[in-house]
């Protein structure tokens, strides 16, 4: 067992020997033998320099890689003790929501429809009152309700970038997933919008487990409880964020956090 990697009791997510390669015939791995456990109802940040495999690892958790047949994924990931590789991807992705780097609301749908897109696209029929409740609750959770309650039937693409990103978060929590994965959610946003999204994530961790990829180590320091540091596909260090930032156990982590490279 690697002494630089903490182990959490009763984790929501447990990753075992995860290896990912972008080319099936190649043995060049973008993620190498990662073993990690994620704590329930907390924010876990994955940080590291570009190309270290942080997004690649995140996207393995909801099996997004299966879209691209060349990508090879090995190892096991457990969600509440259940192996996700054996789950139906449709059920899995309803339990593990995802928010992308660039806000991507559905351009043909209104704000209202974007929030309940998960129900609408899946053809799940629910009562109008229930739908209204879901929309109001999700938008309130992302602190967008007051800003858009009078224009719910306008197109989602009319919102500003930060509002769009919060709309996308609302869309992913409408299904009440167990885990929300965020892939650099603020890298396309200005500082004010970024801080709104960060405040929102801190609020959301009461109800959801959040795994966040970030390029920005100060963001990890601001909001995350646990942090992973990845470098060239290896998980170098994993532990409490404040411990890692004040007293890194690995030399590479220390160099990254003090800005020697990255």
């Amino acid at each position: 067992m690697n002494k630089n990697i903490d182990v959490i009791e009763n984790p929501v997510l447990k990753v075992e020997d995860l290896c990912i390669a972008y080319n099936k015939s190649d043995s060049k791995y973008a993620v190498k033998n990662v073993n990690v456990t994620v704590k329930k109802n907390s924010i876990t940040a994955i940080m590291g320099p570009s190309g270290c495999g942080k997004s690649t690892m995140l996207r393995a958790i909801n099996r997004m890689h299966e879209l691209y047949p060349d990508i090879k994924t090995e190892g096991k990931i457990y969600l509440n003790g259940e192996n996700i590789m054996k789950m139906d991807t449709i059920q899995l992705r309803r339990k593990i929501g995802m928010v992308f780097q660039r806000p991507n609301p559905f351009p043909t749908m209104s704000i209202y429809d974007n929030v309940i897109a998960g129900y609408k696209l899946n053809g799940i029929r629910i009562k109008k009152s229930e739908r209204d409740d879901i929309v109001e609750r999700s938008l309130t959770n992302v602190a967008l309700w007051d800003e858009v309650k009078d224009s719910l039937h306008k197109k989602g693409t009319f919102l500003s970038g930060g509002q769009q990103q919060r709309l996308c978060i609302a869309r992913s929590i409408a299904f009440q997933p167990d885990v929300i994965l965020l892939d650099e959610p603020t890298s396309a946003l200005d500082p004010i919008a970024t801080s709104k999204v960060e405040d929102l994530l801190v609020e959301l961790q009461k109800d959801y487990t959040i795994v966040l990829v970030t390029h920005n180590m100060s963001q990890a320091a601001r909001i995350s409880e646990y942090s992973m540091f990845m470098y060239l596909g290896d998980l170098v260090e994993y532990g409490k964020t404040d411990m890692m930032f004040t007293n890194p156990r690995n030399k590479k982590t220390e160099e990254y956090l003090t800005g020697k490279f990255g």
């Binding site: 909801n62 997004m64 879209l67 991807t89 449709i90 059920q91 899995l92 992705r93 309803r94 929501g97 995802m98 992308f100 780097q101 660039r102 991507n104 559905f106 351009p107 043909t108 897109a117 998960g118 609408k120 696209l121 899946n122 053809g123 996308c168 869309r171 992913s172 299904f175």
Partner: protein, 297 residues
């Protein structure tokens, strides 16, 4: 001193540059006038020669007989009758060709988009490009062999529609594939990340997002086949009456233009029919441009 020198250089340079600029500007203006003059002259000629025949009966009456036209011309009157048999025929042919080509073309286009780099998809893409280069008269011959000889046992609107549908296919396939490629991949991922099955993502997210591109492609394909004459000569033959029966010979506007050309008494009708056809195609083009401009805004 140095400033003085550099300012002199600049002025010198400026005159040279402004001359160069003017020469280039005028060259561009002249060349662009040469480029657009054919279309202006074509439309001008059609309007000038054709507008006299455009009246109410032009859109409501069938083609006149040679005798009626000859009498009218001899008396210095405008030719009676119209081209409604051609208009309805064209509508019938385009409708049927679209019914065949649009679903097939869009499905194949989606298939090509979903399977980039696969050998089978590449083969289909290349074949569709080759299909686009097949002369339309050859498609007419093929439709004659397939449909006229074997299915309808005689000249028919169906045979013409098949020939036109084959012409539309490569255009729709290409425009569907290109449209789908323009849609950001993150939209597909966003749909899948919500636990939506793949086929529902395609039907409910990707196609609605690309609907303007798809309809532009379809409209351009339709305007491409509207003026086709050669394949129709071999398949639908022509009909002096309004016909809605797909197994019977049918007229079409371009076929009527050819008929009028061969009849010295009907010369005036050539121009008005051409004006109508041109206006129709132009309208479709403008609509499709509007749609694509609106979607970009």
């Amino acid at each position: 001193m140095s400033t003085e020198k550099s300012s002199i250089d600049l002025t010198k340079n400026n005159t040279y540059r402004s001359v160069k600029d003017k020469v280039f500007l005028w060259t561009v203006i002249v060349i662009s006038i040469i480029t657009i003059s054919p279309i202006v002259m074509i439309i001008g000629k059609l309007v000038w020669k054709g507008f006299r025949q455009i009246n109410f009966s032009f859109f409501t009456a069938v083609t006149p007989s040679t005798f009626e036209a000859m009498t009218a011309v001899a008396n210095g009157e405008i030719i009676p009758g119209g081209i409604v048999n051609g208009i309805t025929g064209t509508l019938l042919l385009v409708l049927m060709a679209s019914l065949i080509a649009i679903p097939v073309g869009i499905i194949i286009g989606l298939f090509l988009y979903e399977n980039p780099g696969k050998r089978y998809a590449d083969l289909i893409r290349n074949l569709s490009d080759i299909l686009q280069g097949v002369p339309s008269i050859v498609l007419g011959l093929i439709a004659y062999l397939w449909v006229v000889k074997n299915i309808t046992q005689g000249y028919s609107a169906l045979a013409g529609s098949v020939a036109l549908a084959i012409m539309m296919l490569p255009l729709i396939i290409r425009s569907t594939e290109e449209t789908m490629k323009m849609i950001p991949g993150t939209l597909k991922e966003a749909g899948l990340a919500l636990g939506v099955p793949y086929y529902k993502v395609i039907i409910k997210v990707l196609i609605p997002s690309g609907i303007s591109g798809l309809s532009t492609g379809v409209l351009l394909a339709i305007s491409r086949i509207l003026g086709e004459t050669a394949p129709l000569m071999l398949t639908t033959l022509g009909n002096p009456m309004i016909n809605w029966d797909v197994t019977a010979p049918t007229s079409a506007v371009p076929l009527l233009i050819w008929d009028f050309y061969n009849d010295p008494n009907m010369v005036d009708l050539i121009w008005s029919s051409s004006l109508f056809l041109m206006g129709f195609v132009l309208t479709l083009n403008i609509i499709s441009k509007r749609i694509s401009a609106k979607s970009k805004a």
